[in-house]
Symmetry: C2
Subunit: 255 residues, 2 copies
DNA sequence: GTGACTAGTGTCACGCAGACACTATTATAC
DNA sequence: GTATAATAGTGTCTGCGTGACACTAGTCAC
């Protein structure tokens, strides 16, 4: 049957003859703190899975866009706003919630260190404890949230390798070493310092801020990322158009 | 509010207190025929958008997995089974259907030339006309289906460049020229013949079938793709692990 | 056998990427 | 103030993938 075109005439009015699963959004909110990649989880206070931890999320409003619902839930449940947010995947196995049919649209969010500092992340009025968890030391999760998280981590890694997204986890200005630590933590492996710097600088998404990070030891140059860098999915083409290798107009390291 | 953890106690039973959008699946079914990339569309017989063309799709069953729903709808509405099918994106703007709130999970499908020949694609019992349309000469589409299709085409292009997916549109055995034509049609641009062959053969997903395509002119070698090639998203890493350049174990062209 | 048509082939030059180790600058402890 | 610890910062060489580019080979139809 095609809901768009060819329902039996009796049903043209579209009432409740068709089963209607509940539709929710769930958020995977990543942040980077203390050299750790962390996710925000909320402790369940009721069955099923009482005591287990779960992704923040909730019902989509009757006239609410999915994206708006994700933003609203993030605000309500964790007091977080102003994040990068993108749709991840939709999970709809019939038995993922033992009580009823729930289809959930998962969203994937990155909280910058600045926002993390400003916004007191707290659990919303009707949510239980909210806590940041190291992505590599997670507690037991409710529902199919472990699977959702795994998928989100995959996506984050992919984004990091192919887009400028890594910057979104850091403060506005940051050193190259800090940036490298984000990459190493997310990808979960060590990177060569010289090659990392060469590659990142050559990509042209960074600019020096002029400031220096004073610290315990030798001060480091601070960088920010050039505005248009966000989500510039550097359209890597396997079969490039005749002249698209002009994109190497980015600055190289000085020689 | 968090449906997973913290509903007001009165609602723990989860009945119908929360708005429940209708949930549907919509399919973008691609095929390659007569050197054209085509999509299957269904003509709407009722308002809204009566007379316009729309993607095949329908309601998700009460206890039905989303993926299963997509397969079932494809079968019922277009008599097509046995296709490559992957989730594309979920579209949920509140006004995308003027009658009611409908959240649709879009799936993206590739029909091989073999299947296309065997299965008489026809419109299902309660669907209107079904027709293949050239992706570059589409009619007016109902709802937000134009946007969905655009997104699907983007995904198809990406898949073609980075995975072995192109083969899924061709018959089991095919010539390199035929494969190149698929790539050119989907990417919508001309490719260099020698470079194309080099790259495809070097990727190691093809093997000669031993047969030849007899034709009007010089016969061409037939290839098939090696089984594990499907959806081998050749994990291209931007920051490869220390020894992952061993992956060049694929055959090079003979010299 | 000639023409039309498609299949099939090789080289060169350049840029990107990976492997690799030492110097520079600052703060602190004594 | 000198030594030490800690982090910042830098260059080269080699190999490989990739893009640009044009001609020969085999078959059929007339």
């Amino acid at each position: 049957m095609n809901h768009h075109s060819t329902m039996p005439t009796a049903l043209q009015g579209y009432t409740y003859e068709y089963p209607r699963p509940a539709v929710t959004v769930d958020m995977i909110l990543f942040a980077f703190q203390n050299d750790r990649l962390t996710v925000l989880l909320i402790r369940r206070t009721h069955d099923p899975f009482a005591g287990k931890w779960a992704l923040p999320g909730g019902f989509v409003g009757e006239h609410e866009d999915l994206y708006d619902a994700a933003r609203r839930e993030l605000q309500e449940e964790t007091n977080v706003s102003n994040v990068y947010l993108e749709q991840l995947y939709t999970f709809g196995q019939p038995d993922r919630d033992p009580r009823m049919r729930v289809v959930t649209v998962a969203y994937f969010a990155l909280l910058s260190a600045d926002e993390l500092a400003e916004q007191q992340v707290r659990s919303g009025s009707d949510a239980g404890d909210a806590r940041w968890w190291d992505i590599y030391q997670l507690p037991q999760l409710a529902f199919d949230h472990a699977r959702i998280l795994e998928y989100a981590l995959q996506r984050l890694r992919w984004k990091l390798e192919w887009t400028a997204l890594g910057f979104l986890l850091l403060p506005k200005e940051f050193t190259l070493s800090e940036l490298q630590r984000v990459y190493e933590t997310v990808l979960h492996e060590a990177l060569d310092k010289r090659n990392f710097r060469r590659k990142i600088l050559a990509s042209g998404v960074l600019e020096e801020s002029g400031n220096m990070r004073a610290g315990d030891h030798r001060p480091a140059k601070l960088y920010r990322f050039s505005a248009q860098a966000i989500e510039l999915e550097q359209a890597r083409r396997r079969f490039p158009k005749p002249d698209s290798h002009k994109r190497s107009s980015s600055p190289r390291l000085r020689t």
